[in-house]
Symmetry: C2
Subunit: 203 residues, 2 copies
DNA sequence: CGTAGCATGTAAACAGTTACATGATTGT
DNA sequence: ACAATCATGTAACTGTTTACATGCTACG
């Protein structure tokens, strides 16, 4: 059996560490964290709500992991002030500690597998529809991931990170691409199997 | 009414539907749901806490999806009474509706990918350790999944479900096995790449 | 016999995380 | 009105801990 992963706070602490990881390269506002970092760079690894980002930043400030200061708006003058968040030494220490120790495996929770698990209640043609819809969804996700892979590979991404950071980021996209491809292949196998009569009543 | 789009942490409504799916074949107690259904049959698709099962059953009873009655313990002698939960017509309707419509894709949230995304902060040998530890964890999960696959394939699983239910359950295990294998292959690629010097300083 | 431990079965309290909606502010 | 930016409010789900009730079993 898979050992029960008992960790109280789940993987949710990851959100704080993701923020610390971005702040490590310089001060960022909450808005930019959400729109630039989470919605684009990190979208294939982790998603975060906007409200969640602000509340987490607040909590981190209270714990001394970051500091904040007001600054003029970026999109030109006149926009409301924003708060720029800066990582502290304590934040850097927290980030380093999290980075260097193995993370707990994520909980297994796949709604589509769950649905398929009980799919015997459905007629075979309905199961086929579900499988095809799921295949289309995963295909479009794969397309999106491939665009992200190109974006990561393009050379106009100077971040003063040297060669190392882009290499690791490419790896994470590669993982997502490989997983998506595998699941599409698996869906093709399922579609074929149901076609071959597995989903039919056996009398 | 039940919104068809993703809720909360990626379809937690799925838990109710999983319970309905098991209840569809006859009354079950909360304890058996947890120990027999979730901890073994469904462990590769979905996990559920024991307290969560009871809370959800209570909520479902309040909504009329299930009824409950007291019954003598299963060991026959002496064991305390348990509550047997039975699916209602409303529950069957809810299950059928959920089964027949496509599910929302789960949110992307992988703590290990997140860690690797920021791994440029670490020395290469530490990254290698992390990759190897993760590989070992996923390998043991793959071993566990293969044992589950054998258990599903063994012929002594008569459930009066005919041929269809076992076929679909095999598919779900196959998906988990394929995903685990893919991620292990990907980790091997990463380990090789870091070995080849990607993780070294380029200065 | 007593009692301590243990397994079964259920339940509630509490804290952490996420999602979605809404509001407030400021300047074009 | 609209967009950028920040903030709050609410609800849901998840997991952990603790508690309770019952009866079996083992040990002295």
């Amino acid at each position: 059996m898979c050992r029960p992963i008992s960790l109280g706070t789940g993987g949710a602490i990851s959100l704080e560490h993701a923020i610390l990881g971005f702040l490590e390269r310089g001060p960022v506002s909450g808005y930019d964290l959400k729109t630039r970092c989470f919605d684009s760079d990190l979208a294939h690894c982790w998603t975060a709500d906007q409200a969640q980002v602000y509340r987490t930043l607040d909590r981190m400030r209270a714990r001394g992991l970051v500091t904040s200061r007001s600054a003029a708006s970026k999109g030109g003058r006149g926009r409301p002030d924003r708060r720029l968040y800066t990582i502290t030494d304590a934040g850097r220490a927290e980030l380093a500690g999290w980075l260097s120790q193995a993370a707990a495996p994520p909980p297994l929770r796949d709604p589509f597998l769950l649905q398929l698990f009980f799919a015997a209640e459905l007629p075979a043609d309905r199961v086929l529809s579900l499988l095809r819809e799921e295949r289309a969804a995963r295909q479009s996700r794969l397309d999106w991931l491939r665009r992200r892979a190109e974006a990561v590979t393009s050379p106009d991404r100077e971040d003063s990170d040297g060669e190392r950071a882009p290499a690791f980021r490419k790896m994470t996209v590669a993982a997502a691409v490989a997983a998506a491809r595998t699941s599409i292949d698996w869906l093709d196998d399922c579609i074929e199997a149901v076609h071959a009569g597995i989903g039919e009543e056996t009398g």
